[in-house]
Structure formats: C-alpha cells, structure tokens
C-alpha cells in the first residue's frame, strides 16, 4: 500500500439496475453494471479506467458523483462516505467533485448562453455571495475561465451551437472548473473529438492538473490516450475490476489475460509494427451483464480458461478421464451446445455417450474454477493488482 492518503477510495461499490420483465416483474433480470469494485485515487494523480462498452466504467464514474444511488459499498471522499449522505446534504460535496462529459453536443444546454452554463455552478454554490458585487465577481470569474480554456471574453454571451466540438468541450471543462473542485471525473472527454483536437484537450487537462492540483478519474476506451494521461489504470470487464497497475507497468507487463488481449487489440499506427502478426484476437462478444453467471466474468472468452475439443477427438484426449454426471450441468451457452468440463475432471464412457446423445458438438475443456468461483483482486506485485485464479501460472515468465 502506498503511504499517501487516498483522496477517493471506493470499496466494494455495487450498482445494479433492475431490468425485470413481465407481470409484477416475475422474470428477474438484474443488470450488474458495477459489481463490487475497489479502487483508490491519490490526490493529484490521474486514475484511468478502461474497458469496453457496457463494462460499467461510466456507471462507476456516475455512481461516485451520486448521479446513481449505489446499491452497496462505500465511496470515501476525504474519509467521508458519500454513499450514506442523503441527496439534500450532498451540496458541499458536489462542489468538490465535478464531471466532464463525453458528448460535447449533448453536455451543454443549447438554450443557455455560455455565461449561464458556466455560471450555474457559481450561482448554485453561492460562491461569490460574500463579495460586494457577486454578479461582477461571477462575470470576472467566467471571463477568466474562458480565457484559461482558450476562448475569448466575447464568447460569453454566445450559445453552444456557435462553437465547434473542441470548443464546446472546453466550455464543459470551464463549467467543471468554475466551482473549484478537487476531483474531476472525466467521462470519455475526448472520445467524440477529432484526433487533432484530442491532444489540445488532453494537454489542457494536464495543465489544469498541475496548476490547480486536481485529481482526475479518467474514463475512456481509447487505451493509448489513457496510458498517456494516467498514472495508474484500472481495467474493467462486465462490472468487475480485472487489473489495476501503474500505467507503464500495465502496458509493459500486463498480467491479466483480458488486459493482454485488450492491449494487443489496439491498432498501432505503425505499419511495420513487429507485433502485427502476434495479436491476440478474442473470440465471441462481450456477454450480457444481466444476471451474470458465477465465476470469472471473462471466463467465457478467456483463451487460458478453455480449450475447444472437436467431437471426434475428445474421448481420445480424455481416455484416462473420469467425469461425474453432475458436471454436465455446467452448460455454457446452450444455443451453441457447448459444455465445459474441468481440466482435472475425467469423462466416463457414460458421460461421453450422454454428451453425444445431448447433441453437443463441442466439449470445452475448462479450468473449472474459472467458471465457478469469482476471482478476487489481489496484489500480485507491488501496486499491481489482478483478478485471476491462474495469474501466476499464466505469467510464469514475468513473475
């Protein structure tokens, strides 16, 4: 553990959404957007949160600012648990934690002028009410903010639609800065921007961090930009944290199979990239976060967790194997008629006939633990956490 005191500490945070269907919600469907994640962010650092769409990274950010009510867990901000604070008492903390949003078009109210947009926080928190002329002070502050994000004073009376995407995003940053926050949650702030504009915004965020000692939670799916801006990175997959490490460590020596696949999927802007041929291409799609199965969330796509055996050769491969009938219950994906059997389990003749009769085309030889037990996030190396049962086995060469 680092000796620094974290500014934000999230403990076992859960956010479930009830998507039950049917009469009186008979069919229970729980979307586990965030399912018990832990993370801590130190003052002045940038923590990157990456993952594919639907992994719960945005929900995590929004739950931290209490846009969503957490289902369970603690959100310790400077030692105060925000999760237990009722909405009406949140106002002082709202000033401390701000958010920058993804869509530069949807994040600004098109019916308000730039002054109104940026000034709304100042009004809400009555920041200049002790001043002689609060209106003048507010106006000065708005001008100052506009200039600091590279816009002009005369832009204050304009409407958002008169600005380009990058300019709008800068207005959004000015809005967040107007209340002098300590922590800013950047929810994909550059995803919707053009490449040449992304760097402008990223540089600006870095400058503000230095000037104002800001702490960022930087949520993005663009791994290269996250690596660039973050000090530490957390990798999420269907509501679970898979790996947390310093950004260099994560990129150089990823430990978790998912992180490895994710990193190798990034297209490198280098045609003669030496790793071009050795990319790990994951099979299948991200499974639904609704009513997720037991076990590691990544198990269904994990190339370490399973090996597919064709129908013809499984008895041979498992000649010395024995399997209990009960194991056949662990059917993975009934539509594609696959079952998973553990590597250390053996198939009896009886089971083999049963498999044939059931019409299964494939038998996946899996590591049973991956499908039955959810791995915990553990510190594998210093400041490098990963959630995988076989982390040491996989990374023999590194660890």
């Amino acid at each position: 553990m680092d000796e620094r005191k974290p500014l934000l500490e999230v403990r076992n945070l859960k956010k479930y959404f009830d998507k039950s269907r049917g009469f009186f919600k008979r069919e229970k469907r729980i979307l586990t957007a965030v399912d018990g994640i832990n993370l801590h962010i130190y003052k002045g650092e940038t923590f990157g949160l990456v993952g594919e769409s639907g992994c719960g990274k945005s929900t995590t950010g929004r739950t931290i600012v209490k846009l969503y009510k957490p289902t369970d867990g603690e959100i310790l901000f400077n030692g105060v648990d925000l999760a237990t604070i009722p909405e009406k008492d949140m106002l002082p903390y709202r000033r401390k934690i701000q958010m920058i949003f993804q869509d530069p078009y949807a994040s600004l109210n098109s019916r308000m002028t730039v002054t109104d947009i940026i000034g709304e926080g100042i009004d809400t928190h009555k920041i200049f009410d002790d001043q002689e002329d609060p209106e003048l002070a507010k106006q000065e502050k708005i001008y100052e903010l506009l200039e600091s994000v590279g816009l002009k004073r005369e832009h204050a009376s304009r409407y958002p639609h008169e600005f380009s995407g990058g300019q709008r995003q800068r207005i959004g940053i000015a809005r967040a800065l107007a209340v002098d926050p300590e922590l800013i949650i950047c929810d994909e702030p550059i995803s919707a921007l053009d490449v040449s504009i992304q760097a402008q915004v990223v540089n600006m965020l870095e400058d503000f961090q230095k000037e104002r000692e800001l702490t960022y939670l930087f949520i993005a799916h663009d791994l290269s930009m996250v690596k660039y801006i973050s000090d530490r990175i957390g990798v999420m997959y269907i509501g679970k944290m898979m790996e947390i490490a310093t950004s260099d460590d994560l990129y150089d020596k990823p430990l978790h199979p998912y992180t490895k696949a994710l990193l190798s999927s990034i297209p490198v802007p280098d045609p003669n990239n030496p790793n071009k041929g050795s990319r790990i291409v994951l099979e299948g799609d991200v499974p639904s976060p609704i009513n997720p199965k037991e076990g590691c969330r990544f198990a269904s796509r994990c190339y370490y967790a399973r090996v597919t055996m064709a129908k013809e050769n499984y008895p041979a491969s498992f000649s010395n194997a024995l399997i209990g009938k009960t194991s056949i219950k662990t059917i993975l994906n009934p539509e594609s008629r696959e079952i998973i059997v553990a590597e250390n389990q053996v198939i009896t003749d009886f089971a083999a006939t049963l498999i044939d009769e059931l019409g299964f085309t494939e038998v996946l030889v899996g590591k049973a633990k991956c499908f039955t037990e959810t791995p915990e996030l553990v510190e594998v190396r210093k400041n490098h956490y990963a959630a995988c049962h076989y982390i040491e086995e996989i990374n023999k060469d590194i660890l």
Binding site: R62, V65, L67, M90, L91, R94, R95, I97, Q98, M99, F101, Q102, D103, A106, S107, L108, N109, S110, R111, M112, E120, G121, T124, H125, G150, L151, K152, H155, R158, Y159, H161, E162, F163, S164, Q167, G172, R175, V179
Partner: protein, 537 residues
Amino acid sequence: MANNDFKFITREEKLDSETTRRSLTYWQDVWRRLKKNKLSMFGLAGVIIVILFGIFGPFFTPYEYSDQVLDYSNLPPTLEIYKLEDEFYINVTKEYRVLETTSKGKLLGRIDYVYKDIVNKIYYYAKSYELTLDDGESGNYPLGDTSLLYGSVYSEKWGIAFRDFKNEGSQDEVELTYIHPNSPFNDVLMEGETFDIHSEDLTLTSIIFVSDPDIVNPVYTSLDFDDGAQAIIDQLEVEEHISEVTFGGNMIIVNFSYKLMDVDERPEGYEDVQMTVTYNNVEAKYIHDKVSNSTYLWGTDMLGRDLLTRVMFGARISLTVAFVATLVNFFIGIFYGSISGYSGGNVDNYMMRFVDIINSIPLVLYVILLMVLLKEVVIDVTIFGKYFVIFKGGAGLGTIIIALGSIYWVGMARLVRGQILGLKEQEFVLAARTIGVSRMKIISRHLVPNAMGPIIVSMTMMIPSAVFTEAFLSFIGLGISAPKASWGTLANDALSGLTTYPYQLFFPSAAIAITMLAFNFLGDGLRDALDPRLRKG
C-alpha cells in the same frame, strides 16, 4: 512566382481559426424552416386571420349577435331581385315575403301582403292602401298601420274590418281583421252576416294587414257562429263605412303557381318560369339581377340575426374556449408531466396510472356530469361597482372550458413526461446534477426549455382539437346557450333548415374547417421545423 510569396507569416497575420461559426439560434432556425414550408405559412396566415376576425370583426358590423329583425329572417347572402320600376327593386324570399331592396342589394323594408290566394298560388302585396270612407274622407296609409282603423269599419266592396276585442283595453295589441269579399271567408261568411266575435273559439287574428301568412289557414276553420251573432254585431257600433279600399295600381302580384307545375304543363312562354311578379300590370318573368346582400353580407338566421356577426362572435367564443383550455392544459400538463417524468420510478408509475384513469372517462359523459355538478355554482365579483360574472354553471362557456381543461392536459402530461424521460439522461442534465442544481431548477431551466418544441407543436394541434370538441359539444346541445353562439351552436341552428338555407350551415362549418386546417397546417409545419432529426439538413 515572386520569392516574397514564400515568406513565413506570423501567427497574428493568419486567419483567426478560433472564430465561432455564424449560425442561427434554435428559434431562428425553426422560423426559417417554417417559412420554407408554404402550407404551414398558409396555416399561420389562416390562424392570424381567424384570430383577427374574432377579435376585431365585431367592431366593424353594425349589429349585435342578438339583434333580431323577424321581417328579415332566413335571408341568403345573395338576393335575387326583380325590377319593378326604376329605383324599385324587390326580392321575394323563400317564404314569399316581399322585401324592397336597392339595385345594390341593400334592404329597404318589407312590403306586406294584401291578400293571399292560396289556392291559385297568387299572392298580393302592397306598400300601402288607399281608403275612402263613406263620408268621402280618404287617405293613403301604409300597410300594417292600423291606427286609422281603430274601431270597426265596413265596406260594401271589401267586407268588414273589425277590431279584435279579445284584448280589450290594450291598444297596443289591437289587431284588425279585414275580410275581403273574395276571400275564403266568403264561403262561410256572407255579406251582412254576423258572427260572435266574443266567441272563445274565434281566433280571427290576421288575414290581411297582418304580416304572418302562416296563420291564414286556422282562421276560418275555427270560425264558429252561434245565435247571438246578430246582437253582437250591433254592439260593434260600426263607426265608419268604408266605401272603397284601393290597392290597385301599386299592388305587387307574385304568381308562383308555375313553380308547382311540371315544365311541360306550363303555359306557352312560361316553360322556364318559376314565378312571375306583376307590378303596374307589367309582368316580370325573370329575375333582374342577382346581387349580394349588402345589408347582411352572410345572410341572416331564422330569427333575422346577422350571420356574419354571429360567426364573428362565435369565433370569439370558440377561440376563447380553445385558447383557455389549451393554456390550462399547458400549465397542468407541464407541471404534472415534468414531475412525473423527472421523478421516475414508482412516483411516475402511479402518476401515469392516474392519467390513464382520467383518460378512460368519455368526454361527453364527463361534460354532462360537470354540468350537473356545477349547475348551481356562480362565481361573481363586483369591481368598482361593476358586476361581473366570472363563472356560471350549467351549460355554457365556463363548464366547457373546465371540462376541456381538466381532460386535455392528460395528453400534454404524457408528452412532457416522455420528453423529460428522454432528456433527463442527457449529459447537460447530468452536469447540472453534479453541480448540485436543485430539482425545480433543473426542470424549469434545463428540461422544460428543451422540451418546448414538441410542447408547442402539441399545443398547436390541441387548439383545433379543442375548437372541434367545443363545436361538437355545442352541436349536441351541451355547449353555449342562446342567444350566445359558438360555431357549434350555429351549425346546430342551421341544421333544421339545411335544405332550404344551406348557407346558414356553410359559414359556421367553413369557419370551423378553416380554423382546424390552419392550425393543423401550422402544427405540421412546426413539427417538421422542430424535429431534431430533420434539423441537420
């Protein structure tokens, strides 16, 4: 190429790339799109015209919506006039009243019947009659002026004229009856014969000198004579004997017997003649001209009220109902819908089920119930000594507005809720929430202004719907009561005379149709203009 061209320039010399784009604000853009849509501009013009028509129209007509002139009842907007002589034109109405007009269609007055030959379908009219009494005194009197004949007169030639003593003592109600020797009375009443005018059954009210022709028939059927007749005629004390009543030369004879004949039955030269008008022994077979009715531009209704004025007043009432109801809906709908939508969850669920319940009550039933409920309720105030009735229960304006206002908001609430549900997940709302902006401020500053487009479209569409509902309720008799009129009641009034006086239905229903079309066109155009999916182009 000059070398000079390849000199580097400083940053300041470059075009300022950070200038913002010139573009239109949301509402400017909506207006531009609306202007491009011809149909909706027609609609907008129509809406403005209808509103101006309702507000300012009544100032330009000399009539009130309740002014009745029975002589001029059921006049069409176009008059068929016969020229009798220079500067003397008449129009024969559908009810065979003869009206004197100018050549421009201005009504000058009615020319009364002298005598109706019902059997032969020949009616006689005269502006005045000349009376010569036995003592040689004579004078020319306008028809219908009965003051001279106060008392009873008798004429050899024209029969008797007598006063109806039934209303003895009240000079105003004196009605005089004149029995022409050639009149149908001759069958029952011979010259010199007498009858009991005190008889209860005697309803000799009008044959001649009295304008209404419809009472002709019952007159003689109810005549009843008894034995005491002779004595009573003595009591009449015939004061004067009329020696001569002349209608002669200036009698207008309308012969519409041709109308009832088949075309081939008509005498030669009259094959295409409906009726003839004879004046001063000159027979006019055809109308002289069709002129528009310049006294009553859109004609009159069955009580002789100016239709144009009534349609204008109807516009006031219909539009008032529509606008007030829509405004009420607007506020209730936005308030209810935005709270429901923003709260979400169970609050939203229960609020929407309540909306469903309200929505399931049929409007007509609801209006009837309200009328019963509010029958006794009168809200009035006296301001500066002037008495105003703000609301009066029963069938009328207030009840309709309350009924529409309390039903129609349901649709608006649903719409607003839907909009808010979509908007509240938008990032600018999330941003306001992270700042800590209060609920009410988020709704009023962020959500409602952004939902305004669809709300306005819905309001524009709701106005014609309210106009129509009001017209419908009035039409079935649940609406505005007489003498006030909305378009619906006007249409209802016109229904009984639909085949004979179709214009009476045409004008109010055209007003309804134009208003509905105008608002719908405008609403359609607005919807297109406000639709975010179409806004990119």
